[in-house]
């Protein structure tokens, strides 16, 4: 098959998660004002402090301007034409157990490959599934509760553990942080909450699945994970959305807090609908993710595989406050068709002997534009801070772009900071070698790309690593030019 035909075949490959689910939803009217925020808050029966916090964020948001510095182009977002709250109707009378959840919703998750029923029995992954804006079901709760781990939807956490929410909400990403974080703080509808008590090692991978279903809805979830002294937790996040020819906004906030010697590993496989080959539709994925290594010797590790979304704009970061704390960032970002990604990380070294590692792999194909943007900042007190960054880009086809914008700020002479970046394409000789061994061009490209990303996939939990590899193949296969 000629390479052009191959490109055509695969760029036209359908987004296999593009189905919609016919569920009656209980949605707020379009637009955003204080009334809507009060409505969201009332629907969720939130305590007064949270409503106040939302309103404070909303008032601040109104004074802010949408930022335009990233290396991405997109049509203006009309914030008054978005539905800020949408819940499957049957959730209005909150189900007591999984059996009471609307069977349509359950089927949707089965299609996605996370059968909540199955999950319970076979896999060891505890799932919190978020459908549009509401958390649908959380599995394995009792088992986790025995260890003192709280893993539930954000709304439940607000009802049952308001003191924890109050203490940590907005402590890493304040409501004033940026335009989209402020918007999220005002209207966030649900998300996951996880609290791991002192000294507990969470025995299974925790996982959230996000799904935007209803048309014209924005999804604004909020995740908060707190790991107490000496605890360990690994958390997975996956996302899909139906195919729509209008853009949908996803502006989430994720906050992680690691206390003394705690470890949090946060993995994301993001596969939101990327839009069609003309760049029509797709998700705007504008997310603020940040972890605070508050305690001594704490560690936060971000791993992300970004293959979806029309536009991805996010910088999962670590604030390395505690002495000897460690931050890690492993990322694969793939842009195909007309996708654009401006992603990277921020490592802020504050404590002594803090270490950070950044490994970023960007793959651009079709007309995709891929930008790595990162900040490594070593503050004055960060004696012996150490950073190593490596950003590699791979280009497939001559209409795509790969860009690297690292920022390095060092204010301490004992720090050692290294940054390296390379850009290359898949060598014709490499493909030829595979061809002559009877491996088709598509398979060869896949193999090479998977090899290129191996360092990252190694960081993913097993089941995700397999999924990520498959995802990459689907998103990319054959786009060799």
């Amino acid at each position: 098959m000629s390479s052009d035909a191959t490109i055509e075949k695969f760029t036209k490959q359908e987004y296999k998660y593009g189905f919609t689910t016919d569920v009656e939803s209980d949605a707020a009217p379009r637009g955003l004002n204080e009334e809507i925020i009060r409505l969201i808050s009332a629907k969720k029966e939130e305590p007064e402090f949270l409503l106040e916090w939302r309103l404070k964020a909303f008032r601040h948001w109104q004074t802010m301007e949408e930022p335009h510095w990233p290396n991405v182009k997109y049509p203006a977002i009309d914030y008054q034409n978005i539905i800020y709250y949408s819940a499957p109707k049957s959730m209005t009378n909150r189900p007591k157990s999984l059996d009471e959840v609307d069977p349509e919703v359950v089927r949707t998750f089965e299609k996605l490959g996370i059968s909540l029923e199955e999950q319970k029995r076979i896999t060891g992954v505890a799932v919190d599934a978020v459908f549009d804006s509401v958390s649908v079901a959380t599995t394995f709760r009792e088992k986790l509760a025995e260890l003192g781990i709280i893993f539930c939807s954000f709304s439940e956490a607000v009802r049952e553990h308001p003191e924890l929410v109050r203490k940590y909400l907005g402590s890493v990403v304040p409501h004033t942080d940026n335009f989209f974080a402020a918007l999220n703080s005002a209207v966030f509808s649900d998300g996951s909450f996880c609290y791991v008590p002192k000294g507990v090692r969470c025995p299974m991978e925790l996982s959230t699945y996000f799904r935007i279903n209803a048309i014209d809805t924005g999804q604004f979830e909020r995740t908060l994970i707190v790991a107490e002294e000496g605890s360990t937790v690994s958390y997975l996040e996956g996302c899909t959305a139906p195919m729509r020819d209008v853009n949908q906004l996803h502006a989430a906030v994720v906050e992680l807090v690691a206390l003394d010697r705690a470890t949090i590993k946060y993995s994301t496989v993001q596969n939101w609908y990327p839009g069609d080959e003309e760049g029509k539709g797709g998700i705007f994925n504008f997310v603020t993710k940040r972890g605070a290594c508050r305690g001594k010797g704490s560690k936060i590790s971000w791993t992300q595989v970004e293959t979806g979304s029309a536009i991805t704009w996010k910088y999962p970061g670590c604030i390395l406050q505690g002495d000897d704390s460690v931050g890690e960032f492993y990322s694969v970002a793939l842009t195909n068709r007309r996708q654009q990604a401006d992603t990277g990380t921020k490592m802020i070294h504050i404590g002594k002997n803090t270490r950070s590692t950044i490994v970023s792999k960007g793959i651009s194909a079709g007309r995709g534009q891929n930008t790595y943007r990162g900040l490594v900042q070593v503050m004055k007190g960060a004696e012996n801070a150490r950073n190593f960054s490596q950003c590699d880009s791979m280009l497939i086809g001559d209409k795509c772009g790969a860009h690297t914008f690292p920022y390095v700020d060092v204010r301490n002479p004992t720090a050692t900071v290294e940054h390296e970046a390379t850009t290359s394409k898949i060598g014709e000789d490499q493909v030829f070698y595979c061809n002559q061994r009877g491996i088709s061009t598509e398979d060869a490209v896949n193999m090479i790309v998977n090899g290129f990303c191996k360092e990252i996939f190694r960081e993913l939990p097993m089941e995700f690593a397999v999924e990520a590899q498959k995802l990459l193949s689907v998103s990319l296969e054959g786009s060799v030019g």
Binding site: L395, G401, H403, Y407, N412, T416, E418, T422
Partner: protein
């Protein structure tokens, strides 16, 4: 005083000067000046909100009311006063400028090969309009860059260097820019144009120095065109006083198979900003941008470079090294852009900074912007201190710690100083380097 008002004052300075010389306003350059003037009036000085100036706050410069002075006010110093800065007989030609105005009494145009031109731009503009008209104001972007617009609005004097087709000038051409603070802070806008014809080659050295330790701003712009198969080596040494402000733009445009090699030494000025760039607008062009910056006291040294690969088979190499001590701050931003047609580009960029004191800081931003797929591009940045093992090694050989550190620091910089093959200049660079090192005098013998 509002920014706009201050810009107005600068413009009034210019008007006053123009009225005194009506013939200069009739020049073909006038429309370029007018256009730049209106751009400068609109742009004003850059604010830290602009990405390119985020780390370089111009507030101290804003506070000053800088006066632009005409040539009659720029008294040239005696030859003996600037003896160290003049290379005279060792150079193919040497032109000296005081406050941006040509000082013929200090300049010496030796016996240049036939056809080569080294003269003041003011002389060249009318006499050689045909040569200049396609180049002057074409490379340094004054539409979006305020300092270039400011310079272009005041475009009058500077150096004009022309090397005709096929000619190789062996000895370097030296351009020396002197400024003094005087009773009130002043500003100079030297403007240079260097044209190297097909297959020709030359070396041009620009030195910027002060006559006293007063406050002034040098806002220099150098435009360069390197013809097909031609080669230009450009060296800039900036050693202005610690109270001076220096903003310099160097913009080259390269044709097919040409080579442009730039080496910048930023040692002086309280606030120094260098913008160096080249557009590789012909197949197989080669570009080298190297630089060394030394900061001490409260100096802020900012280097911005942009290499634009516009055609296939181009290659570029970039190495910037910095040594920062005391409370000095360094800024480095290097951009490599590979445009869609520039296949087979090979680009490499490196920035290394040595921080020698607790209060020194560096902001580095190496960037790659790539729109073609068959390319090989890498960049790297490191920030660190001296290798403790190397220090220990020297100490175990009986060299005291401070001297050992000094020696290692010298070695870090010597790499770039060693690239200067013109003996008198290298000697001067070594002197300056040793003088700036802690315990420099003690290690002089060892070098």
């Amino acid at each position: 005083m509002a920014e706009k008002d201050k810009t107005q004052t600068y413009l009034q300075d210019l008007e006053r000067f123009r009225r005194a010389r009506p013939h200069e306003s009739e020049s073909w350059v006038e429309p370029i000046r007018r256009r730049a003037l209106s751009r400068f009036a609109e742009l004003g000085l850059p604010s830290p909100r602009e990405e390119d100036w985020r780390q370089t706050n111009l507030a101290p410069l804003r506070r000053l009311a800088l006066r632009w002075s005409g040539p009659e006010e720029a008294a040239a110093p005696k030859r003996t006063e600037v003896r160290d800065l003049l290379f005279g007989g060792e150079a193919a030609a040497e032109i000296v400028f005081v406050a941006g105005h040509h000082a013929p009494e200090l300049s010496s145009i030796g016996d240049l090969p036939e056809g080569a031109v080294v003269e003041s731009l003011l002389d060249g503009v009318e006499k050689r309009k045909d040569l200049l008209v396609d180049h002057l104001g074409r490379y340094a972007d004054f539409e979006t860059r305020s300092f270039a617009a400011w310079n272009t609005a005041f475009l009058r004097d500077g150096a004009f260097v022309f090397v005709p087709e096929g000619l190789a000038i062996d000895k370097p051409i030296h351009l020396l820019y002197l400024s003094r603070g005087g009773s009130e802070p002043s500003v100079a806008h030297p403007r240079n144009l260097i044209l190297v014809g097909k297959g020709a080659s030359a070396t041009v050295v620009e030195t910027y120095a002060s006559l006293d330790d007063g406050t002034f701003l040098t806002n220099a712009v150098t435009e360069i065109r390197v013809g097909e198969g031609a080669s230009l080596r450009h060296i800039k040494l900036q050693e202005e006083s610690i109270r001076a402000f220096h903003v310099g733009a160097l913009q080259a445009h390269q044709e097919r198979s040409s080579r442009f090699d730039s080496l910048s030494f930023a040692f002086g000025a309280g606030l120094a900003r260098n913008d160096a760039g080249s557009v590789l607008d012909g197949e197989g062009a080669e570009c080298v941008l190297d630089g060394l910056y030394l900061g001490r006291g409260d100096q802020l040294i900012d280097n911005h470079t942009v290499i634009q690969h516009a055609r296939p088979h181009g290659s570029s190499r970039e190495l910037y090294k910095g040594i920062l001590t005391d409370r000095a701050r360094g800024v480095f931003s290097g951009r490599i852009v590979v445009r869609p047609d520039a296949q087979k580009t090979d680009a490499k960029q490196t920035n290394q900074t040595l921080l020698l004191s607790a209060n020194a800081a560096v902001h580095t931003k190496p960037q790659l912007e790539i729109y073609a797929d068959d390319v090989k591009c890498t960049h790297g940045a490191t920030v660190g201190r001296l290798d403790e093992n190397a220090v220990f090694y020297l100490r175990s050989r009986g060299i005291e710690e401070a001297a050992a550190r000094s020696l290692l620091t010298y070695a870090f910089a010597a790499d770039l100083v060693g690239r200067v093959d013109w003996a008198p200049l290298r000697k001067r660079l070594e002197e300056l380097l040793v003088a700036r090192l802690p315990l420099g005098e003690e290690i002089r013998g060892a070098l």
